[in-house]
Point group: C3
Chain length 170, copies 3
């Protein structure tokens, strides 16, 4: 698929694509796309909705279920509104609930060999969740007016991989 | 479907209903129902299990996966026990973790044009999650003895929409 | 399936197993396994990845979606890294966010007939989530290098039941 949705979000169809084998009109199937996101800050929230919509459109799936899963333990995905002020509040909330400077064992060389000192990133990712499931109907994502699919980078900047699976069910 | 489950929860079959096209016994399909809930307080937790069970029963689906997704950014859905005392504790926890009176940017006219001053509602919704996935087996939801599907209104009272998708897989 | 993955995690195929009825090569189907976990402490995090991988391998499903759902309101499942120091941090975070000793109504005989005084366990379970969805591709779980599927016991020690559904979609 094209990458004009966002210049630093790349998606690639994975090498295989399974489909039903019962004739010329398969009625189930799975479509898989890998999405790469280059993040630019340590903590940053990105809107992936347009990418997901394009993936679904390109599969031609009319009805089914889409799963977006991050492949990392220090990123998260969730659904809400991408207003800049609100996203700043999300970051403030994460710092309030899981302060970076707390004495976490994961950051302590006596207990851990992790030299990224990113306990806060793991813990915040656990709070937010690693995957979202979205319904597809009439060939589009079933979402409310203000809802968007957001990715939280919690220990960037890095190149991040997420996998989109479109489960075709009509 | 009938609405006698709860007088202020309405469900409607959406106009389309996709099914497999491979003959008289389709073995996959998607059934979609919209559920409307009239909430009565700013923060309120409602049990939607009976509605979901009726939706599943009416589809006749024996095995598959049900997704319940809220269409709003200031409501949430999750699974737990609907004991009144415990639901009060959930509300107390939300106020403890995400105080309504904190100086959130989303409530500040210098940063935001939102006049509902509902940053707490967005942030609490993110903590709780916007969707649940439930297994269907033997024509019923696969749940534990004390588990119920709950919706949290976090910025009511309002009319709220949720969409139930029953993915038929047998 | 065999139980040699972990001596105190048992899985059993449930009595039924639905499959497509359209001939000798069904292209959809649902496989269900119940997993029993004996926990040994009040709060404890267990890695269930190997069990899930074995369940998927035994179904022979090439592409689809796996749901792991706990049947309890005081346990949770989530995805992250099972480093011992980090899991200690998760427990510390749960105590920080939802202190066991807080005056929760669920623990107060004036409001609740629950004699386990386990409000913290319910509330922590709500924070973490009751189910995870994992993609299957090429017959294996689609996960990142450091990701594992973890179960949090929050009011043990007890025998816990989880249900794995493998939705076959190729």
């Amino acid at each position: 698929m094209s990458t004009d949705v966002n210049t630093d979000v790349r998606t690639n169809a994975l090498p295989w694509q399974a489909r039903g084998a019962n004739g010329h009109r398969p009625n189930t199937g799975v479509h898989v796309h890998r999405v790469e996101v280059e993040t630019t800050k340590r903590v940053e929230i990105r809107d992936l909705t347009a990418v997901l919509e394009e993936v679904v459109r390109n599969t031609g799936v009319v009805a089914g279920l889409v799963t977006l899963s991050t492949m990392h333990t220090t990123t998260a995905v969730f659904v809400n509104e991408p207003q800049t002020a609100l996203l700043d509040d999300v970051e403030q909330l994460l710092e309030r609930l899981v302060p970076r400077g707390e004495e976490w064992k994961h950051n302590d060389p006596r207990y851990s060999d992790c030299d990224r000192h990113n306990a806060d990133a793991h813990l915040r990712a656990i709070m937010l969740g690693n995957s979202v499931a979205l319904q597809v109907a009439d060939g589009a994502l079933t979402m409310g007016q203000w809802q968007r699919v957001l990715m939280a980078e919690l220990d960037g900047p890095r190149t991040r991989s997420l996998v989109v699976q479109v489960l075709q069910a009509e």
